[in-house]
Structure formats: C-alpha cells, structure tokens
Amino acid sequence: MDHLDQLEAQSIYIFREAFARLKKIALLWSLGKDSNVMIWLARKAFFGRMPFPALHVDTGKKFPEMYRFRDHYGKEWDLDLRVEPCPPIDAVDPTLPPAARSAARKTEGLKMALAKYGFDGLIAGIRRDEEATRAKERVFSPRGLEGNWDVRDQPPEFWDHFNASPPQGAHLRIHPILHWTEADIWAYTKRENIPIIPLYLAKNGKRYRSLGDQDITNPVNSNASTIDEILIELEQTKVPERAGRALDHETEDAFERLRVAGYL
C-alpha cells in the first residue's frame, strides 16, 4: 500500500464508522477540492453511492464557476443535494471584523439547516495542516447544543476509536480527511481523476488555492496551470494555503472565535 492508499483506507474507515454509529448525517459540500475528494471517498466507502445528503450551505456569493460545478456534478454523481440559504449580514454578530462577519453567516446558515433536518452528524472536509486550530481537532468532534466547540474539553481519541454519542440535540463534526495534506489532496485528485473547478488552475499569473465567497477570497500569484505544476509549487512555496482568505488575517483570534462558535 502506498501513501495515498493508506490515506484512502483510513478515510473510508472513518466514513463507515460515521454511517454506522450516527442516526442522521450529511456531508458538507463546499464545492472545493477537499469536499470533492470527500465525496469521492464516500462513494468508495459505499460502493458507488453516497447514502446520505450533500449539504451546501449557500451564502449566495460563490463564484459562477462554483455554482455551475455544483449543478452539473450534483446530478452526475446522483447526490441527494440540499441547498440551504444563509441569513442576511445584519443577523450576525456585529462585533466581528467585516470578513469574519461575512463568514459567520455560514455558521448561522449551518445552524438553521441543522435545526431543519435534525442531523446528529456533519461530515466536514477540514485538514490538520490547514490552520492551527484545525490541527487540534478530533476525527469525531463533539459540538455543544449551540454548535459550539469546547477546545479545552475534547474527549480522548486513539487507536481509531471515536466518541460518537452527542448529547440530545447536539451534533458531531466528523472529519474524514483530517490526516490529509493539501499536497495529498492534489495527488489523489490527479490519481483518481476527480473533477475540479478551473479556478484552481493559474490564469494570467494568478490562481485560487482555496475557494470561498467571492468578496472575501483572493487569488495568489502562481503559474501552476496543471495539477502536476500545483504539486511542484506546493513543494516550494512558503505561502500558507489560506493566504487568500481575508477572514484569517483580520485579527489574531478571528478564526478561532469563528470556529469555537461553530464555523468549520
């Protein structure tokens, strides 16, 4: 088994545990490279179909390419797609900096979707290498009744044994690709020939490394116009993956505040 085989087998194991141990789960599909790999892995885990809904919490501010991608592959992959809206900007915490406040709409949209469907598990495509607070995550991460994350009181998790009993009304976040890196995602996307949104590939010296809302996501300088070139670029770059995400840079704790409150 090579490195990608091992990552894949581990993720499939996590998917199957989540499906076996929770009553009602959904996969959060942000349309980006990570959640596309997740859907692919889910289909591997369940032999061609994903036996739970794909949930797109839609801010209404994604790139047109992203919406086209969603509508096309939602059908082609035969997904049970649920698109849920987010509340307007003035409904969220006004003390947050502008970009974080914009992102917090998504947290609220997520809460509304949770309340609507009663999911007890949400599968999310975060990775430890993305960002310091995500590095501290568990594979099965309990959330409070408000969707909040108590980073100081996380249950022990070892030997691939996961805590899967959320209190009544609360939910778990399940992270099947927590152990992958950005480079792993691209290498696997290439090996499996998983479709991607073209915004990831460089045009006129710029490309998106990470896709979010149009107003708070910026491209980075790059000439990588193929996945192979992206992999070479990742080996050399010192620019962090989320450099183009405005909300990460507003204040030191903005991202942590968002995550504790329930952001991904």
Partner: protein
C-alpha cells in the same frame, strides 16, 4: 516530521525489504535524549542537506556553543509553529533497518503520550546520565516499558565524559539497571557507555571507551527485531457494516491483519459460521482481483446468506480468534472518577461493543509514584490490570498474538475513558460481583483479637514435597491453640479432597487451587483466626496472587529443606513413584519449584528440630505484629 528529516527517501525503497523497527527513547529529564537523537540523525546520515550548517550558524549568531539537542529543538519549534507536519515521528536508517523514532516528550502528559506512542513500539532506548546514575524516573520508565509489553530495551549510559570514561562507574550503573529491569522481566539487549555529545559509543567505539566490547548504539538498534508485519499475522477483518444498496450484500470493514482473496474459506466469529468469499467489491471498478492485505478498507460478498452483524470478526477457518466472555486487560485510565471493582462499562474492541463489569482489579499503579496502591481502584492517569466480564461473547486475541485486535477502549457515559491491551482471554473464573452484597461478621476484629491475643493472619508455608510443611504447620497449630489462640490448618492436599476436587494439576488448575486456598485463608484471617496454609505452591506468581488477596495479613515461610533430604524422607512415597514415572506433574523431580525471593522467614528442617522451628515462627509472628506479648485491654479500644 519525516518530511523534514528525510524528504525523499521512502520507508522501503524499491527492491529491498528493509525491516522497519519502531523505537521510543525514554529516560530522566536532562539525561540527554535530544542530544542522542540529534547525534543519531547525524551519524546515520539522515539530516537533510544544509540543516547542520544552518544550526551551526544559528548557534554562532547567538554566541552559543553548538549542541546536538538544537536539532531536535529546532524541529520542535517548527512543529509548535504549526508547519505542515502530520506525525511526531522521526525516521532514520541503520545498516539493515529503517528506524521510526516515536517522540514521547512532555512531563505532565507523559503517560498518555508514552502509552499512545510506546504501546506500538517494538523496542526502546532507556537513557541514563553516568554522573547522576539511575534515578526515580529511570525506574519509572523501565516500569512503563514493562507494562506496555516492550521487551527489547537497549540501555545507554550517557555523559561518560563527565565521569572520565570510568569503567567502574559504568559497571555500577549497568548492574543496578540490569537488576531493576530483570526484576520486571525485561532483559536489556545491551548496556552501552556513550557520550552523545562527543559521539563515543553512538556509531563508533572510540579509544576513550576502549575497555567496552559490546555494540554501539547504532549496532544495538540494528539488532532490534521488528514486530511481525501485520500482513504476516492471521486474517482479522472486523465487520463495520453490511450494505445492501443494490442486489449485492456487501460485508464491509478494514483488514486489521493478514490478507484475503476471493475463494478463501472463512469463519465468522463469535458465531463460528463458515462461508467462502465470493468477490471482493470496490468502486469505480469491481470486483477486484488479487490479494488484499492489512490496512485496506474492503467489502466482500459471501457464497451464502448468513446472519452477520457489526462487530463480528472474519478470520480464516483454521486460525480464528478466541470467543470469550472474560478478559484480563492491562489498562490506562483517563477518567476523573477512579475505576473500581463492580463498575459497569462499555468495552469496545474494534467495531464490537459490549457491556462489561469489572470483576477484579488485580493491580493499580500510579506510574508517577510507582506505588502499587491497594487493589481497590485505578485513579485518573493511573494504570492497572483488571478482569472484565462481558455481557456478550466477543472474539478477540491477546495483544501478544495480535496487536491490532488485542486492544480495547473503555467508554463511560458515551465518552472514551481508558484503553488497554488484552493480556488473556478467559481470565479467572471469579464470580461477577453484581448483586452480591457481602455480609459482615457480627463481631469486630478487635473483639476477636482481645480474646485470642492475636490478629488474624495467613501463615503460608511453601516448599518442596516432604520438606516438612505439614509437620511444622501442625506443631504451630498446637502451639498457638495452647496459648489461647485460634489457629486453623488449611492443608493443600486436604482441600484438594473436597473444595478443590474439581481441579487437576495443569498450571492453570494449580493457580486456581492456590487462589482458592488464599481466598479461604483470607476469609478466616479477616475474622481473626490464624490460617496456617501448608501447600507446595511452586509458582512464584501464584504466591504473589495469594499475597495480593491476603494483603497485609500475609506471612510467607519458605521451608527450605534441601531437595536430597526431602527425597530421602519421602513419607508419602511420591518421589519414588515420580522417579518410576508413575506420577505426572510432580513438583520436586525436575526444576519447577520457584523459591521465594523475599519470604518473611526461611526454615531448613534438616538442621532444626520441629520445636526450634515452631519457636522461630512464633518469634516472627510476634515481631511482625500478629501475636501480642501482652493482653490487650479491650475497653481501651472502645
């Protein structure tokens, strides 16, 4: 971290089959762990280009002399800063091995780190400062290695430059640590004098340790045996789920060990049903041909419809795991509330879950203090050995047979509260303490003591057949009774005629025989009597269990009459029969008697009369507080 250290070399390069060995380096703080690791990486050529120069420059800029420990510290800093690192493992290579070094740093969190890391280590390096010698933490780490079942331990005595490379100093430390480890059942694979800072003994035997003839550290690592690869073990496929999304009925799970291929005959445990693998299913291409090995998440279909459920284990028909309702496990406990006898738990063994009850706590140790506390409860961050009774049978393996299936976690209120290794299945047949409420005696112990002029005790006479145990026991019984006491004789053979008549002479039956003797004797002792046990009780471990049961009431007397004298006496004719081959499993002929290391008293009946020996025992019972010299005033105790 391997990304930083060996960016390009894969663990197993093409065309070679280099065994991979996982090691953990442990030892007292400041005894030189980081320096040794830095030096090892350098000596084995495992540093990326430019790393050494970079560190030298950093040291020079700060005006500090270069230290090998900077290397590890630098990696540590990189990790703290959250740079892309997914593991805390450092890789380097010796002549014939790929070494994976499991980093186990930290003090407060030491136990959890050590357990999660070292529980998967094949071997360990225990480091000792030559100047400071064996310290508490050295012993503590030695104990933890023993606890986790790490049997291959190379000891390095570091900082030999600080003791002028003294061979005498080295020998003193070597003897001390070897004795400590042997006492735990761990034999060091090597004890090596080194100076990690200067390099003596790490990769080379320098002139300064010319007197040392053993292996260097690198050679010692090169000699460690890797754990058997999971694929070489018997097939274990724990069932995660059964899917029926279309006309296929797919049994899904991850192969924990061994391998499988379509056509294999398999058995589904614990039910024991037999079937054949029809196909191995996958996506997007299915079915897949070829053998699937350990680590793969697979789906299989079978050639017949069988009732299978999550938690079942699929194995090959000739190598199935044991089915059991009883386990003995060595566990670490992470929950706030201590784990106690009678506690109800949820045990998870892979995808299988079962309600369970703690039948007994055989050992409870605080690895920080290394004090073996009373066997009542295992506190937070403590470790221990427990017997568990399961409400459903499960199929499992002792961890020595299979490290993947031989481990379990314990859940309390939906949260993982501890975990551990399965030591054995079908642990002792002790009654489950559910719904059992012991009835206390109407009398207080001190009321009895006042009448008998002694406390309750278990006087355990052990020794070869015909060493004189029964004779002594009877003399002691008569003596104590004459003085107004309440002695009761429990002769091993007598009890075998009744209470223990269901037991034979296998090792397990002998252990059970001793356990029952100890339980009866302890019950009598708790009620103020002196139980005099006369039993060969050849196994040290069995007597240790008896001592644990009787606790502070236990007094061991080794009747150490020489073997020739015993055979010559032969009052029951056993030796003669055994010599003639007519008595199987007879202790005495052959070497299966294990003499006590630390009995309260040793008596050789070939050099003493029975009366003299009884005097000695009486004296010991007086000096150890069982017999009172004076009558106790009962009123004073009220």
């Amino acid at each position: 971290m391997n990304m930083l250290v060996t960016p390009t070399s894969p663990a197993t390069p093409n065309g070679t089959t280099r065994p991979q060995v996982r090691i953990v380096i442990v030892g007292h703080v400041d005894h030189g762990k980081s320096t040794l690791v830095g030096r090892l990486l350098h000596e084995t050529g495992s540093l990326p280009e430019g790393k050494l120069e970079m560190l030298k420059a950093v040291s020079a800029r700060r005006g500090m002399p270069f230290e090998w420990s900077f290397l590890l510290d630098a990696l540590q800093t990189e990790r703290d800063q959250g740079i892309t690192i997914d593991t805390t493992q450092i890789r380097f290579r010796t002549n014939s091995r790929d070494i994976v070094l499991i980093d186990a740093p930290g003090h407060a969190e030491f136990l959890r780190n050590m357990i999660t890391g070292a529980s998967q280590a094949d071997g360990a390096v225990l480091i000792i400062d030559a100047l400071e010698g064996v310290r508490d933490q050295t012993r503590r780490h030695g104990y933890l290695l023993h606890l986790l079942g790490v049997k291959q331990v190379a000891v390095v005595v570091n900082k030999m430059d600080r003791v002028d490379f003294s061979a005498e100093r080295f020998k003193a430390i070597s003897d001390e640590i070897s004795a400590h480890l042997s006492g735990l059942g761990v034999k060091p694979t090597a004890v090596i004098p080194i100076s990690a800072r200067d390099g003596d003994g790490v990769a080379e035997r320098t002139g300064r340790i010319g007197w040392y003839k053993g292996p260097t550290v690198v050679e010692a690592l090169d000699a460690l045996e890797p754990a058997r690869p999971l694929e070489a073990l018997a097939l274990r496929l724990p069932v995660q789920a059964i899917y029926k999304f279309d006309d296929r009925r797919i049994v899904a799970g991850r192969i924990e060990s061994g391998s499988l291929v379509a056509g294999d005959e398999i058995v589904i445990m614990p039910a024991g049903k037999i079937a054949r693998i029809k196909t191995v299913e996958s996506w997007p291409v299915t079915p897949v041909a070829g053998r699937q090995g350990a680590g793969r998440s697979v789906g299989i279909t079978l050639d017949r419809e069988l009732f299978i459920e999550r938690g079942d284990i699929i194995a090959h028909a000739n190598a199935a795991p044991r089915e059991t309702r009883r386990l003995r496990a060595r566990i670490f406990w992470l929950h706030d509330k201590p784990l106690a006898r009678g506690d109800q738990l949820l045990v998870r063994s892979g995808p299988k879950e079962s309600r369970a009850t703690v039948v007994a706590i055989e050992k409870a140790v605080d690895p920080g203090e290394l004090s073996s506390s009373e066997n009542k409860a295992i506190g937070r961050n403590h470790v221990g050995e427990i017997d568990i009774s399961l409400s459903n049978p499960i199929a499992t393996d002792p961890y020595t047979d299979n490290p993947r299936t031989g481990r379990l976690v314990i859940e309390v209120s939906g949260r993982i509260a501890g975990g551990g290794l399965v030591l054995s299945v079908d642990a002792g047949q002790r009654a489950v303490p559910v719904d059992i409420v012991p009835v206390e005696s109407a009398l207080r112990p001190d009321e009895r003591s006042a009448r008998y002029h002694h406390n309750g005790a278990v006087v355990w006479l052990t020794g070869l057949p015909a060493s004189g145990k029964s004779t002594l026991a009877k003399a002691l019984e008569r003596r104590l009774f004459s003085n107004g006491g309440s002695p009761i004789l429990l002769d091993g053979d007598t009890l075998r005629a009744g209470l223990n008549s269901d037991l034979g002479f296998s090792a397990a039956d002998r252990s059970e025989n001793i356990r029952r003797l100890a339980e009866v004797a302890t019950h009598l002792a708790r009620n103020g009597h002196i139980a005099i046990v006369a039993a060969v009780s050849p196994a040290r471990e069995d007597r240790a269990i008896a001592r644990r049961i009787a606790d502070t009431a236990f007094r061991e007397i080794h009747v150490a009459t020489p073997a020739e004298v015993c055979e010559e006496r032969d009052p029951k004719g056993h030796y003669k029969k055994a010599r003639a081959g007519a008595l199987a499993s007879f202790t005495g002929i052959g070497n299966d008697y294990e003499a006590p290391h630390a009995a309260e008293l040793v008596i050789d009946t070939s050099t003493r009369t029975v009366a003299e020996a009884a005097d000695e025992i009486e004296q010991m019972l007086k000096s150890s507080g069982v017999l009172f010299d004076e009558v106790v005033d009962l009123a004073a105790n009220i």
